[in-house]
Symmetry: C2
């Protein structure tokens, strides 16, 4: 992998894991010394981080880290829900072809299989995540709307997939979420097949918002007050003994 990508992903995980204070200034030299590379790849990495709003750049004045709060993750998920809902609506309106229908049906079947025996093993979580992602990604991709696709991809650089993290800590919650998720996928698919755009959008949006319930669940498990939304996200998740992203 190129050094540019290495620097980028390392900085990204450090920012998300809260290795820097919110608002802390990042100088190029500091990163160069830490990671042992020259300024060129560091500058490139900064530009990418800035494009995703993980750092804030000012001309001639370098970059500062943007602290990621629970509210930021919440907000990103709200946007994702809206966009995925819209994608489902478009697809229902335009109709889906045979191949797509099969892909979605298979993903729903896979999901249903998993819902029968919920485990907390890495293997299960991985399989669940894969089936879920296939369903969501297929719907978005099939709209063939580049802007929609790009917008969601950019959001995905934030830690929006909170469910997987939450699952690991609570079997009962995981079981409920997986089983209701299965039903929701089925309902969305039905709306897509019958061409009911409004239902498809609403059902998909509501389903996508499940991640928000995951956040609320963590809040309750940790017994936090209403001000938890302003917490740094890594501290919030850290309460479960889990880091946001692997290094």
């Amino acid at each position: 992998m190129s050094q540019e990508q290495t620097v980028y992903s390392k900085l990204r995980s450090m920012i998300l894991n809260g290795d820097f204070d919110a608002g802390e200034r990042l100088t190029e030299k500091m990163v160069c010394d830490t990671l042992g590379v020259s300024r060129t790849p560091v500058r490139a990495a900064f530009l990418q981080l800035a494009a995703q709003n993980l750092v804030i750049g000012q001309s001639n004045r370098g970059y500062t880290v943007r602290g990621i709060t629970v509210d930021d993750v919440w907000g990103a998920n709200v946007v994702r829900s809206v966009l995925e809902g819209a994608a489902a609506g478009m697809l229902a309106r335009n109709g889906i072809d045979e191949a797509v229908r099969e892909t979605l049906e298979r993903s729903v079947e896979d999901y249903s299989q998993l819902a029968r025996h919920v485990e907390l093993s890495d293997g299960f979580l991985e399989a669940h995540s894969a089936a879920n992602r296939t369903f969501h990604d297929t719907i978005v991709a099939e709209t063939e709307n580049q802007s929609l696709l790009r917008s969601i991809e950019t959001l995905a650089y934030m830690p929006v997939q909170i469910n997987r993290v939450v699952f690991a800590s609570d079997r009962k919650f995981a079981t409920e979420t997986v089983q209701s998720g299965m039903a929701e996928h089925q309902n969305v698919l039905t709306a897509l097949l019958t061409g009911d755009a409004m239902a498809a959008e609403l059902l998909m949006r509501t389903h996508s918002q499940k991640a928000l319930r995951g956040i609320e669940h963590v809040k309750e498990v940790l017994g936090l007050g209403p001000e938890y939304r302003q917490m740094p996200f890594h501290k919030f998740i850290g309460g479960l003994g889990i880091s946001v992203v692997a290094a």
Copy 2:
């Protein structure tokens, strides 16, 4: 202005204006020679263009320009409509404070003033654009959702504001658009003030989609067939004798 920004904006306008063929490969040296700068600012500019999907980068293989079709602009506007609609819905749900209400009311008033005497002068178009933008931007900004704001900003780098271009070519269409736009702003504002989230979202989305009608209007003026969606956008607009962005 820094050379990096200069290179970025020049390349951007060249791409949008169709100075490059779709899929054409852009080498760093070529840009350096053309603009008379070194590779460093050029590389930085490429990274920014890639972040906005105006060029496509492959590691060790440079960048190729992504041809912007009418469909791309259409799709970007669809996404913008969805996001602005969602923003209005959120605002209606959360309620708006006094200052915001005043800003929006003033913008609607300004808009109404303009709607009385529609002209095609630069001054009028500028004033109309400003009043319109204030309304839209305020609603988005007041959600205080960074991801939403960022997503829309990124879209804005595509030539989504087609109306201004269309106006210049058709007085009747401009008049109708401005006057119905005024009514739509008023209706959205009413929904915001009464806290009717569903109405606010739907009205705002429908209003934002006006840009799509602008595209369809151009299509009809030019007497194009249904395949016009695949046309390069600059050629589409070029039919009116107008360039996409100023150099």
